[in-house]
């Protein structure tokens, strides 16, 4: 399989539609004309690369990366880990994974955020990791809280962690959200429900992973992420005699 060839087409019925009226912000922010498709060129198949040397020792540790010396963030302690793979099931090494989230009370550290729940002075809510040779990643954090938002009269986001992913090509760029197994707010959320297929939603729900907890320290959730895969090039087809 080529590491530089064109990507498999994106299934835009599997992804949320641009216009999902129950998610009110999408009404004025969704293009109304059809997208124009064209075959991938180098402009789409190449993308920025990030070295492991860019990552600081606490970048993956949201419990401590903003905390005062000797302090740590408040809330249930979690390990979140998984693999970044492509649609062909192959691990994506060297992928930059950026995460951000609210604190245990559902409050974001952001100037536009006005929720009554207090900030945690020892928690910023951002972290990043680069996947290893097999596509594996792991970070430490606290369980984010649910929070209300001005969509309907009583809308609450499920607990979630935002993920931003870079593969090897600019056409693989993806931002998504991770939810937590068993959260009853998931099926009520219009942002979740912008995704039409329940099997696609299930792919965003992390599962409790008791085998990989840190006993007497942190629970663990497993969250695997799939990026677009590269198709076979004509050259490879010939080589295989297809």
């Amino acid at each position: 399989m080529s590491d530089t060839g064109p990507f498999l087409p994106r299934d835009r019925v599997w992804h949320p539609a641009a216009l999902a009226p129950a998610y009110r912000s999408s009404v004025l922010r969704s293009p109304t004309k059809p997208l124009v498709a064209f075959p991938n060129s180098l402009s789409e198949t190449s993308g920025p690369a990030f070295g492991h040397d860019m990552i600081g020792p606490l970048d993956h540790d949201l419990i401590r990366n903003f905390a005062a010396p000797g302090e740590s963030a408040l809330g249930p302690r979690l390990i979140v880990h998984g693999r970044v793979v492509d649609e062909n099931g192959k691990g994506v090494p060297g992928a930059l994974v950026e995460v951000w989230q609210a604190n245990a009370g559902g409050r974001y550290r952001h100037k536009n955020e006005g929720y009554i729940a207090p900030l945690d002075p020892n928690f910023a809510g951002c972290g990043r990791v680069i996947t290893g040779e097999d596509g594996a990643y792991r970070f430490l954090t606290i369980q984010p809280g649910a929070y209300p938002w001005p969509n309907g009269p009583n809308s609450w986001r499920p607990a979630h962690i935002h993920f931003s992913l870079f593969g090897g090509g600019f056409a693989q760029r993806l931002i998504t959200q991770m939810y937590f197994e068993g959260d009853p707010l998931i099926p009520l959320c219009p942002i979740v429900n912008a995704i039409p297929d329940k099997a696609a939603v299930a792919q965003l729900v992390a599962t409790l992973d008791m085998e990989n907890t840190a006993p007497m320290d942190a629970l663990c959730y497993r969250f695997d992420i799939v990026l677009r895969g590269r198709g076979q090039t004509l050259f490879e087809n010939r080589m295989e005699g297809a």
Partner: protein
């Protein structure tokens, strides 16, 4: 071989800056600098170019909570990362809006790169836009106004309705190139399925 399904996208939400550019969001001390903030240094080859983008919603309001990323070739038309690329150019930039809604990139004029079938493409910058209310990041391109001859032969522009091609071409202003991205309306920008 069983093909897996791509993880479905979700909106970046209104607080994307916390994760993607914490320093610009006022969160200091976690990362030394925001990724993508600087694309060039003193040794970068090529003609310096300032690119100023504005993004508007369906009512013409500037989207000050969006994040824009760009990806482009170096002055010789080589994408960074390979051995032949300009080592002093990242090719990738990421910016938040300022208070007036402007996303400003300090970069260089890109060289030409080939299309999938070998034809040459006009110089262009690839864009990716995410924000609250955008469920899946939007892809578009910016072309430059001096390259009209190349535009006529560009394999991607040739797929676009001639009446809409102007939405992809920047204008030359006092402080650099500028382009307005309209998500909806009479001047709706052409977005691509790449």
């Amino acid at each position: 071989m069983t093909k897996l399904r791509e993880s479905p996208s979700q909106t970046a939400g209104p607080y994307v800056h916390i994760g993607c550019m914490p320093n610009a969001a006022g969160i200091g001390g976690v990362f030394p600098a925001d990724l993508g903030a600087e694309m060039v240094n003193d040794q970068t080859l090529g003609e310096r170019m300032t690119l100023i983008l504005r993004v508007f919603d369906g009512e013409g309001a500037p989207m000050t909570d969006a994040v824009v990323e760009i990806w482009q070739a170096d002055a010789n038309g080589i994408y960074p990362g390979g051995e032949q690329g300009d080592p002093n150019f990242t090719g990738w930039g990421r910016q938040p809006a300022d208070q007036e809604g402007a996303f400003t990139f300090h970069t260089i004029r890109p060289g030409t790169v080939p299309f999938a079938d070998g034809r040459m493409q006009a110089p262009h910058v690839s864009l990716w836009i995410v924000a609250r209310g955008i469920n899946l990041g939007l892809n578009t391109r910016v072309y430059l106004p001096e390259d009209a001859a190349e535009h006529a032969a560009d394999p991607v522009l040739s797929l676009v309705d001639p009446a809409r091609r102007e939405t992809l071409i920047a204008r030359k202003g006092n402080s650099g190139y500028a382009i307005d991205i309209h998500l909806q309306g009479a001047h709706e920008t052409v977005f691509f399925d790449i």
